[in-house]
């Protein structure tokens, strides 16, 4: 049945979209090949793929935190987003895995991460925590999709498991960098809290983006129920998180200016090579403009403005992690010179490819899974009948 008026109501554009994504994945495969066969040494140990990994990991876990408002705390207003929200968390974690695996110098020895587990290493824990996070998310998705055959308790139990795994992944990710006292800019007890705040911020705006774009492409319009949910609940939440994020950023960088070990790094961000990215993208584009859009009564109910604010927050969070993680390595340990770094072609191609994988998986979910609030599973546990994006 074809009742939709969206661009993807006609199969041509859907096919074109999928072909485009496959092209992006091909670029990513080329990038991965370039990285796996590279012989040159990068000027810093962790390049573009690490902030990209952190960004997607934060987006996935942040989206999962927003999901928990319904799945754990049962706030009914969030019910319409829950299925798509869980699927979004699952697909967002995939690029994070791709980045971290390809960034390893010996990815084919990765099984050692599980066989030779080292409890004092935050990276050692990461392997297990991500596995638990993904496993619990899949369980939660099945429970939510098969809601009619499950008790509410099953939903809450899986929701709590996901929430615990999410918080554990988060804090471990923050500690992975925060515990390194060799990098003064990272070495902070607040990094885990900072990561949680920016994660929830980017998770919330990814919800807005995914729900709005999906509805526009499928139906040509966004249900009023969703717009109301975003303006009434998401907008104040994102505003609060932006302000909290600023407080944490100020709490980290202002004292750093007065600490002889941290000051050179803080100056790189506030007044050095990363200052344009910090002030223009992270603070103005990723903070002030979305704050104004989401605060204003005339704009926070309008779909184009919600989309604009969400895209800007995504950019702001991505660059904030890039600045923190690349800038944090940009001073030589010996003699303190500036280390200039620009991402290589392989890294950029992999970023495109992994993002395309994420979008393709999301699209496949829309085609195969009953992610609309009213859709029910038909066969094979949770797959909907008739693979079509229109409904």
């Amino acid at each position: 049945m074809r009742t939709s008026k969206g661009l993807f109501g006609g199969e041509f554009y859907l096919l074109l979209w999928i072909v485009g994504l496959l092209g992006g994945i091909l670029l990513g495969v080329i990038g991965a090949f370039m990285l796996l066969t590279r012989e040159e040494t990068a000027p810093i140990p962790w390049g573009l793929l690490v902030p990209s990994y952190v960004f997607f990991a934060l987006a996935a876990t942040g989206s999962s935190l927003v999901n928990s408002i319904f799945s754990v705390f049962r706030i009914e207003s969030f019910r319409p987003i829950i299925k798509r929200g869980i699927w979004l968390s699952l697909v967002l974690i995939v690029p994070a895995w791709i980045f971290i695996i390809i960034d390893l110098g010996r990815p084919f020895s990765m099984y050692n991460l599980y066989l030779l587990f080292h409890p004092t290493s935050r990276l050692g824990w990461m392997g297990w925590l991500y596995m638990a996070f993904a496993l619990y998310l899949v369980m939660e998705l099945v429970v939510v999709i098969r809601e009619e055959r499950m008790t509410e308790r099953a939903g809450i139990v899986t929701g709590v498991l996901v929430l615990i795994a999410t918080l554990a992944v988060h804090t471990n990710l923050g500690a992975l960098f925060g515990a390194i006292n060799a990098k003064p800019l990272w070495s902070s007890h607040f990094l885990a809290s900072h990561f949680i705040v920016s994660a929830m911020m980017v998770g919330a705006v990814f919800h807005i983006l995914a729900m709005i774009v999906t509805n526009l492409l499928k139906r040509g319009s966004v249900p009023g129920e969703l717009t109301q949910l975003f303006s009434k609940y998401y907008a104040p939440m994102v505003i609060g998180l932006i302000i909290l994020n600023w407080i944490l950023v100020a709490g980290e960088y202002i004292p750093a200016l007065f600490n002889p070990e941290e000051a050179p790094y803080a100056k790189l961000l506030l007044a050095g090579p990363y200052s344009v990215s910090f002030w223009l993208i992270e603070i103005v584009a990723g903070g002030i403009i979305p704050l104004v859009i989401l605060f204003s009564r005339t704009t926070k109910n309008k779909v184009p403005w919600l989309l604009t604010a969400s895209i800007l927050v995504v950019l702001g969070v991505y660059f904030s992690k890039y600045d923190l993680l690349i800038g944090g390595q940009s001073i030589q340990s010996f003699a303190g010179g500036f280390i200039s770094y620009f991402p290589g072609g392989g890294e950029i191609l992999l970023l495109i490819g992994a993002t395309a994988v994420c979008l393709l998986l999301y699209t496949l979910g829309e085609l195969l899974l009953p992610l609309e609030p009213e859709e029910k599973p038909a066969w094979f546990v949770f797959v909907k009948r008739g693979a079509s994006i229109s409904n």
Partner: protein, 246 residues
């Protein structure tokens, strides 16, 4: 008994004998490099240049510094390695098992002295100075110590090396390595402050203790984060109910 090396930079002439001896004993290939305006070559430690003689021109003259893994008493690299590829031996050296390495470079990022380097060209594993553990096992000093013509480098029991360093400090020498990163197995003496030589400013606590402190805040964040989300949800529930009443 753990070994240590006293590095008396006041004696160093910058001959690079240690650098060459290290390459030779450990069978590391020579670096293809070029003149870049300083006596220091290659510009940085690499997967092949484990021991590098650094050059520093200051107001008080120019100085040479032989630089490699400090073999910390409580090494950050050992603590962060996710596959237990690195370990600290009782004799002092911090060693690694190449077969366990996954190439995450967490050890490089975590090292306060910026030492472990990934070998992208040859075997794709982390490499660094081994303190010539194979030579120590045979009862002979490391290749760099053996090659040093001015006794800038001297091997000894760590207690003796620490005592010598403290005695020199009382005579006015600057000392580096007694407390940095919780103490190291290579202890430096200099006639000028180490920050003027460009030495990294390293906290005087060992990495693992810092890591434990962060673990405490990590658990606190889980509790506070969960509680904050719960409180926010309670607020939303109230808001929902108020909306229904209207």
């Amino acid at each position: 008994m753990p070994k240590a090396v006293l590095v008396d930079l006041r004696r160093c002439t910058g001959c690079r004998g240690c650098q060459v001896a290290c390459h030779q004993w450990n069978e590391r290939p020579a670096e293809e490099t070029e003149f870049w305006g300083t006596y220091q070559n290659p510009p940085d430690n690499t997967a092949n240049t484990w021991c590098l003689v650094r050059f520093r021109d200051t107001d008080k003259g120019f100085f040479f510094t032989t630089w490699r893994c400090m073999h910390c008493l409580e090494p950050a690299c050992v603590s962060v390695c996710p596959t237990q590829a690195l370990h600290k031996t009782e004799e002092g050296p911090v060693l690694y098992d190449e077969t366990r390495c996954i190439g995450c470079q967490y050890c490089h990022a975590a090292c306060p002295f910026d030492i472990p380097r990934f070998d992208w060209e040859e075997d794709r594993v982390i490499r660094k100075c081994t303190f010539c553990a194979d030579r120590l096992a045979m009862g002979i000093e490391p290749a760099c110590v053996k090659a040093c013509p001015t006794d800038t480098l001297t091997l000894g029991e760590r207690d003796e090396v620490v005592a010598k360093a403290r005695a020199e400090a009382e005579k006015g020498a600057y000392v580096y390595g007694l407390e940095e990163a919780g103490g190291t197995s290579w202890i430096y003496l200099s006639s000028v402050p180490f920050d003027e030589l460009g030495f990294p400013k390293v906290e005087r606590v060992a990495y693992p203790s810092h890591s434990l402190a962060v673990l405490g805040s990590q658990l606190g964040t889980i509790v506070v984060g969960g509680a904050a989300l719960g409180l926010y949800s309670l607020y939303l529930r109230r808001k929902d109910r108020e909306g229904e009443r209207r």
